[in-house]
Point group: C2
Chain length 271, copies 2
């Protein structure tokens, strides 16, 4: 049986890349040639995936962008395409779900049975019994929000509790109590490299999904130095908009490939 | 333009009910007559809605149960049916979304433009900029998780910060900083009536969505006494499984109506 962590480790080694390409499709930003296709969202993402796969070690579709456009079927198609044409590159469904156990079971079915994602992002606010149902899907990854990349993340995550900020409590729970499956990861934003360093010190080799290096302005060098493991991996460094909208015209695939290659290289420069 | 809060206040007065019927459809629990229908999820929920509407002041479909079964179209149909056949009863989409602003905009479109919900539940872990995009949909309600009904809720929500538990910080932020639109509500579980009382003391007449009186075992009397406002309303007291699965046979609609009426009456007994 395949395991998310094993697949991820293999992908990091094989591709020599820590880049996770985020797929946030917005039809208003698509090049004209796609505009009138009924499957424009799938076609745009598929083209981006095929162009950037040589430079990436994972993909992260953000489900909100599909749901807002009634395009769940295109998300299914897209993930099936990645598995079929780029085997070994794990797919993280960015959904940030969080609900009581009985409902979490349904969300886990959505992520793993329906969409066939290798991992899903989840929100820790409702505690461990809201996360456990995902862990029962053997070999599937669960990536818990810890220190998010947005400014508002500080509203709660930076509150002091027991002498340290809340996000560190989440990191400790994840490292010491919640990771019985061994398939857990954490989200820590590239906009907060000091916090990446603290979290890395608390969680051993646990994978960190790190958004925020592209449009959100995070520092690549500081991120890599703060987040790498002894094996010089351990990070899914995500860029979405800066890659997928690197070009606006019909050369968007070439522009995305170039941006992905440059981002991979910029990350590797500091490893 | 309609406002969630105004619609809700009108519904409480007109129906003399604080009951919110939760719609968590699980096909394995449906009566045999529905089993082979391709639109079984819609048909089950529509039947429940029509049977319980005389005793309810709102409905709360839980999106996970639709998403796990690729039944988003049936969720759209269901909400359209409620608006068309039971006008004035607000629909709360229970989605518990939470993401950075640009993604939250997409989730807000999903909830309000696509599904035409009157309100949506959201998670506060990512802070105010993850909630603001929903508030920009004028007249739409946003119900923020505060003290959830599950046991694991205590893992984070009960941590002390600045001399009080985290859920109280969320209540205070909601009351004092986040409610510029006047359309905010909070989720506080019926399994924690003392916390309902504390939150009510902090947030004035803000509506409280209170799950947990049915299958989860919350105390109706304690809930009502803790949560009512001066106008003797202020609560969306939710019951899902105890109503919709009250009967297992082809009389499920009658059984649900009976359970809804009894729940409404039990609530009103303590108002």
């Amino acid at each position: 049986m395949s395991s998310f962590i094993q697949t991820l480790n293999d992908a990091w080694q094989r591709t020599n890349s820590l880049l996770c390409v985020g797929l946030d499709p917005e039809p208003t930003k698509f090049p004209g040639a796609l505009a009138n296709r009924p499957d424009a969202i799938f076609e745009f993402c598929r083209t981006i995936v095929d162009a950037t796969a040589p430079y990436a070690s994972s993909f992260k579709p953000q489900i909100a962008y599909f749901a807002a456009h009634r395009a769940e079927d295109q998300l299914e198609q897209l993930i099936a395409h990645i598995h079929a044409h780029h085997p070994g590159l794990p797919v993280i469904l960015d959904a940030k779900r969080g609900d009581i156990g009985s409902t979490a079971e349904q969300y886990a079915r959505e992520a793993f049975d329906r969409y066939r994602a290798d991992a899903v992002t989840v929100n820790p606010y409702m505690g461990f019994d809201s996360i456990q149902p995902y862990l029962e899907h053997a070999g599937k990854g669960v990536i818990v929000l810890c220190r998010t990349s947005n400014a508002g993340g500080s509203d709660l995550q930076f509150l002091e509790t027991g002498g340290r900020p809340l996000y560190q409590v989440v990191a400790q729970l994840a490292a010491e109590k919640w990771n019985a499956s061994g398939e857990l990861g954490l989200v820590v934003g590239a906009t907060f490299p000091k916090e990446i360093e603290v979290v890395r010190g608390m969680v051993g080799d646990m994978p960190l999904l790190i958004p925020g290096i592209g449009a959100q302005g995070g520092d690549v060098e500081a991120t890599v130095r703060a987040g790498r493991t002894a094996a010089n991996t351990g990070m899914l460094i995500n860029s979405s908009r800066a890659i997928i909208y690197a070009g606006k015209g019909d050369d968007f695939a070439d522009a995305a490939a170039r941006a992905a290659r440059e981002t991979r290289d910029r990350i590797n420069q500091y490893r």
